[in-house]
Amino acid sequence: MNDSAPSRSSGFGVWLLVVVIPLIAGLLLSLFIPQPVIGTINLNDAIYSTTASDMISQIRYAHDHPEIKAVVLVLNTPGGTVTDTESVYMEIARLRQVKPVISVVEGMAASGGYYLLSGTDYAFAKPSSEVGNIGVIGYLPPAPAVLEEVYSTGPYKLWGEPRDTFMREMEMLKQGFYTAVSLGRGSRLKAPREVILRGQIYPGSEALRMGLIDELGSVSQAYDKAAKLTHISNYRIEDLRTLAGVPTPPTNPLPLGFFRTKDGVSTGYPNNPGLYMLYIPNAEGQP
């Protein structure tokens, strides 16, 4: 019995040392293994300087944080300015070098919105979502003129470029847009070029048949797809706007931003001349 008491206490010590402590240590250490996160970026607005800047902040955050394994881009946008659309598109391409980006269309991914969608790894839409409208629109700048009170050093210093050049520039941008779609969708794109470039907008079910999207589905399915692509499970979903500290956007419904005159009057179309990858249903008073 005397031998057994030290032996029992020795056995308990060994048990503690060999099993319990390492297990507790392992459990504690395992907490340092981060739960995978699928980040969500919501775009529920047109694409213009503010929204593009917000999106880019979120994309950069996702890029720089390893726990974020994939990003789901939830789109409800008619598109927007060309430059802002291209900016976001390029940031998405950079992010995709390291993490998959899945897009899902809620109400609409038109024009510039579709430009972004085409640059993602996989695209979902609802059967009735509006998808497509590939192309560029432009509101011509004023015709060059000479003003009595304003002097400039060249004929286009005030006006930027000839109106005709402005029109032709759209064609160049259209080439970029189509190429982005063509490269992004690759062999999944079934509609021929001349059909794509008609600029038509399609319901999700038709967009699927044309190869403009990959699947009809919801945001949940988009998360599942993102998890599958990245081989993760038991993931956490986070709004990247919150993680990146991007201020919550105002709750104004569309139209927002540049769809507003200086007097604060909302318009259904951009109130400044310019080039847009934007879907604008024809509206009363539209120039």
Partner: protein
């Protein structure tokens, strides 16, 4: 510590780590290949296929001393500014023709009496049936009609400073105008995603049928154009990739057509006339062709064009060997000032000069010197006794009364008559005759009246510009004049 215990400890340490790892991660994400993005630097702004500027054309003003005029209508809510089509108006001017603008539809009839051509660009106010009839008649007697529409100018004449008082589109308005010629515009625009000039709606056309408007053209570009339905001559057609916006289909869509032996040309675009689009492909030559087409309009001259009956300087024939009545001087003066106000140059001479038109005025009876000029009209001048009086109804005596007319006193009175083929026999007293003989070398207008004062009345018609009160048959007008005792139609003929 025994090695086995160390191993167990390590396992115990790693199990939670492995479990958590496997709980979350079943593999790793590996991107294969790079993300393809467009080579944005490789995209360039498509440049227009600029044409060689058309050479300056020598004017042909020498071919006609009075230049032909081209009428640009701005009276039907036309959705354009004249300044926008300066490329065309300048080309017309270089050809020695004049440009006239009609801003009041009431004067359209007056202008059509003398212009060579009518240009209708994007009218948005409907033409009256009278206007359509007059324009159709104008074309049928040799005037040329150019009709341009434009999908970007289908409405909104008011935007262009012209009043628009209808809700009709330009295509609807022009289709009514062109219906007599078998041409109609579709309310669409054509587009081509393959063969275009910088934009799908700027369509290049290379299927061109030769005509006065399209000669020497191999490629033109139209900037938003309506397609045309016609069984007449299709001048410009699109290729297999040119579609109509109405159907998103199309094959050989027509965008320019002609009718009435090329006297009517219709084109579904007007933007090609504006800078800088006039400089693309063969558009400059197209504009020059259109200018020639318009300047060469040559409506047949008839008395209905009165008083615009002359194409050259006018010689007013004066008798060399007899005194001129002072009333005749007054009549000639009125005719001179009226014709000069219309832009004609005049002189007086006793015989016709080469390259001049002739104006002759004479009272009846006809002088021998004028008989050769009047002979082609086959007029017959007679002098007959006044009609025998007949009893007036209700007269108790059965004798004629002066009020009943045909009263003949005791002495027999002779009355002068003129018989006009196809019209009848007229008493010359109080009667005026206008006889018009156009020819390639010289136009001749003969004014005859029963008295010198009647000549003055005829000269007054020149200043009023109207043949109201006249019967017109071919190139002869028989007019009731205010001077003289009466004159009247006696029937027959």
């Amino acid at each position: 510590m025994k090695p086995i215990r160390i191993i167990i400890a390590m396992v115990m340490l790693l199990v939670p780590l492995a479990a958590r790892t496997l709980w979350f991660y079943q593999g790793t994400y590996q991107r294969t290949g790079s993300i393809p993005t467009p080579d944005f630097a490789s995209f360039t702004i498509p440049q227009p296929d600029l044409s060689t500027p058309a050479p300056d054309q020598p004017t042909n003003a020498a071919s006609a001393a009075v230049k032909p005029d081209v009428l640009f209508d701005l009276s039907h809510g036309n959705a354009y500014f004249l300044s926008e089509v300066e490329t065309l108006t300048k080309a017309i001017d270089k050809l020695g023709a004049g440009v006239i603008v009609d801003e009041d539809s009431r004067s359209l009839f007056e202008h059509l009496k003398y212009v060579a051509s009518l240009v209708e660009i994007a009218p948005t106010n409907p033409f009256s049936s009278n206007e359509i009839r007059e324009i159709t008649a104008f074309v049928k007697r040799g005037g040329t009609l150019l009709v341009l529409t434009d999908p970007t100018r289908n409405f909104g004449g008011a935007t262009f400073g012209t009043s628009s008082n209808s809700n009709m589109s330009s295509t609807e308005v022009t289709n009514l105008l062109l219906a007599p010629f078998g041409i109609s515009f579709n309310d669409d625009y054509v587009y081509n995603l393959v063969n275009n000039d910088g934009n799908f709606r700027n369509v290049s056309f290379e299927q061109i049928t030769s005509s006065p408007v399209t000669e020497n053209l191999s490629k033109i570009v139209l900037y938003s154009a309506h397609s045309i339905l016609t069984k007449q001559t299709a001048l410009v057609e699109g290729d297999a990739n040119t579609f109509s916006s109405l159907t998103d289909k199309g094959s050989n869509l027509v965008v320019a057509a002609s009718a009435q032996e090329n006297k009517v040309s219709a084109l579904g675009d007007m933007t090609f006339l504006t800078l800088p689009y006039n400089q693309v492909a063969d558009n400059q030559n197209l504009i020059l062709n259109i200018a020639k087409f318009l300047a060469n309009g040559a409506p047949e001259q008839t008395l209905r064009s009165f008083p615009y009956l002359f194409s050259r300087p006018i010689t007013i024939l004066t008798p060399a060997d007899k005194p001129i009545d002072p009333v005749m001087v007054s009549a000639m003066s009125e005719a001179q000032s009226s014709l000069e106000a219309l832009g004609y140059t005049l002189d007086f001479a006793s015989k016709l000069e080469d390259g001049h038109d002739l104006l002759v005025a004479s009272s009846l009876p006809l002088e021998d010197a004028l008989k050769p000029l009047v002979a082609p009209f086959k007029l017959t001048f007679t002098k007959e006794p006044a009609p025998t009086p007949t009893p007036a109804a209700g007269s108790s005596t059965g004798l004629p009364t002066p009020e009943a007319g045909g009263f003949n006193p005791n002495t027999e009175t002779m009355i002068n008559y003129v018989s006009v083929p196809g019209l009848g026999k007229f008493e010359t007293d109080g009667l005026g005759l206008l006889l018009f003989a156009p020819s390639e070398k010289s136009n001749t207008l003969i004014m005859l009246a029963g008295s010198v004062s009647g000549i003055k009345d005829l000269a007054g018609m020149v200043s009023s510009g109207s043949l109201n009160g006249c019967i017109i048959q071919g190139q002869v007008a028989v007019c009731k004049l205010s001077s003289g005792s009466g004159g009247g139609f006696t029937g027959g003929g």
